[in-house]
Amino acid sequence: MQFFVNLGRDTLNWLRGVGGASIMLFQALVGKPQPLKMFPLVMRQLYVVGVQSMLIILISGLFIGMVLGLQGYTILVDFGAEQALGPMVALSLLRELGPVVTALLFAGRAGSALTAEIGLMRATEQLSSLEMMAVDPLRRVVAPRFWAGFISMPLLAFMFSAVGIYGGYFVGVQWLGVDEGAFWSVMQSSVDWQHDVMNGFIKSVVFAVVVTWIALYKGYTAAPTSPGISAATTQTVVYSSLAVLGLDFVLTALMFG
């Protein structure tokens, strides 16, 4: 019995959270557009959220591509199909690993930082003092960070895939001796723009919205204390990772199922 009571309460709390997060995002994004004010704020956040995440994304992409090259080769060579290494690396990256791993890394690198930053602004009354200056913190603090996440994650995912393919090429062709012409030409003929590249792009847009949204909401509603901010940061990473993995299954089923 207690179980059902808890389940009901947790569900209600969850729904309340989703409602609150939706209202927050709505108030942040909907309203009179102010491009002149918004542009410098978004640019600044693009640097913090996007450019500063680039290094970890590029390095991770390179290593994952190299591992794919190595693992793919050892499997494919048994069937004499090492020519298929190119499409295998490219498709795994474009369809799955690019968007998903980028989103997971982004949640850990940029999402947690967003949550901590906004939570600390709440704790030090910076958000209150914006409000008292008649500046809406949702439009001033939340909105530019949201757009920055929204714009940068798909770009980061592309970079991840591109570097990963290069890593696979490096291991497969340069090191293990797969034929270079076959590697690229088979890849080119089997990767479909619409089916693979666009679907991967759509995935990373969806992940960008979800991860940034969770990070901003958790920061905005964090309890204004050190344990409160630390809990909110952890929740950002946990919830957005779970959301990304769950949504990835749903999207994959819709796109490729």
Binding site: Q27, E125, Q126, S129, M132, M133, A134, V135
Partner: protein, 266 residues
């Protein structure tokens, strides 16, 4: 007399803990009103109610005749352009320099050209003695300096109402004297209305036109400094003289000390 802020029979509670039970006060336009009271009695809360960051459970908070609790979001933001608040913690933006912090409200709400903004900011920083600290970041300031920088920011737009939450805390005697005269002169030269929350009885009484003393979830006395000095209530007298023994308890409510030490549960 014309009142800029009026509270009528305000009730407010945090969770199950009542903070106010029937607070009524008025802040005359163009005057300095001081609010005093024991720590934790809800002075900051009162400022937040006037600023519309909290809403009263019952009763009205009026600013220039408008019921703050009933305004919608955009009307509230419009109204807030006419007031400003110095937060107890200063609340400077940590990603901007002191100079940019003070310039922030000007850049947000005016279309002044850059050279005028520079001039205004320098004037405001000069008036709090921090013109040389413009390029420092808030984390490079001492507590007292941060509060003075925040004060400069809150007077940047010359609003109608300024609420100072403990402006003198952490100031040395020299800057304290300077801030006292700054608040007074802002009030006299620009005709601003000020609400000053402070524990520095002597300084506050010297500039206030009106003093309100809060205790026991309500306003226990309201009047000019002279009236309060002559007030017959022992509570007011205790507060003004700073005696630790009297009707105002120094301790947060608890079981008796004796029981607590012996481990007797309440």
């Amino acid at each position: 007399m014309d009142n800029l802020v009026e509270c009528h029979d305000v009730y407010f509670s945090r969770g199950d803990t009542p903070i106010y039970e029937g607070v009524s006060l008025h802040v005359p336009r163009g005057k300095v009103t001081a609010i005093m009271g024991p720590s934790g009695c809800g002075k900051t809360t009162l400022l937040r109610l006037i600023g519309g960051q909290l809403r009263a459970n019952r009763g009205q908070v009026l600013f220039a005749g408008q019921d703050i609790g009933k305004l919608n979001r955009s009307a509230l933001f419009e109204t807030r352009k006419r007031m400003s608040m110095l937060f107890q913690s200063g609340a400077l933006f940590s990603d901007l320099t002191v100079f940019e912090n003070v310039a922030f409200p000007l850049r947000e709400h005016t279309t002044l050209p850059e050279n005028i903004i520079q001039t205004v900011v320098k004037m405001k920083l000069e008036s709090v003695g921090l013109r040389g600290a413009g390029q420092l970041f808030p984390q490079e300031l001492s507590g007292g300096m941060a509060r003075r920088a925040a004060l400069a920011r809150s007077i940047a737009l010359d609003p109608e109402l300024i609420m100072y939450d403990e402006p003198f805390a952490g100031q040395d005697p020299i800057s304290m004297g300077m801030l006292v005269s700054l608040i007074k002169s802002l009030n006299e030269t620009l005709g601003l209305t000020s609400i000053v929350v402070s524990h520095d009885i002597h300084e506050v009484m010297s500039i206030a036109d009106q003093v309100c003393i809060m205790a026991n979830k309500t306003i226990v006395a309201q009047g000019s400094p002279e009236e309060l000095r002559a007030h017959e209530s022992p509570l007011v007298q205790q507060f003004l003289s700073g005696a630790s023994d009297g009707p105002v308890p120094f301790h947060y409510k608890a079981s008796t000390y004796h029981d607590d030490l012996l481990g007797v549960s309440r």
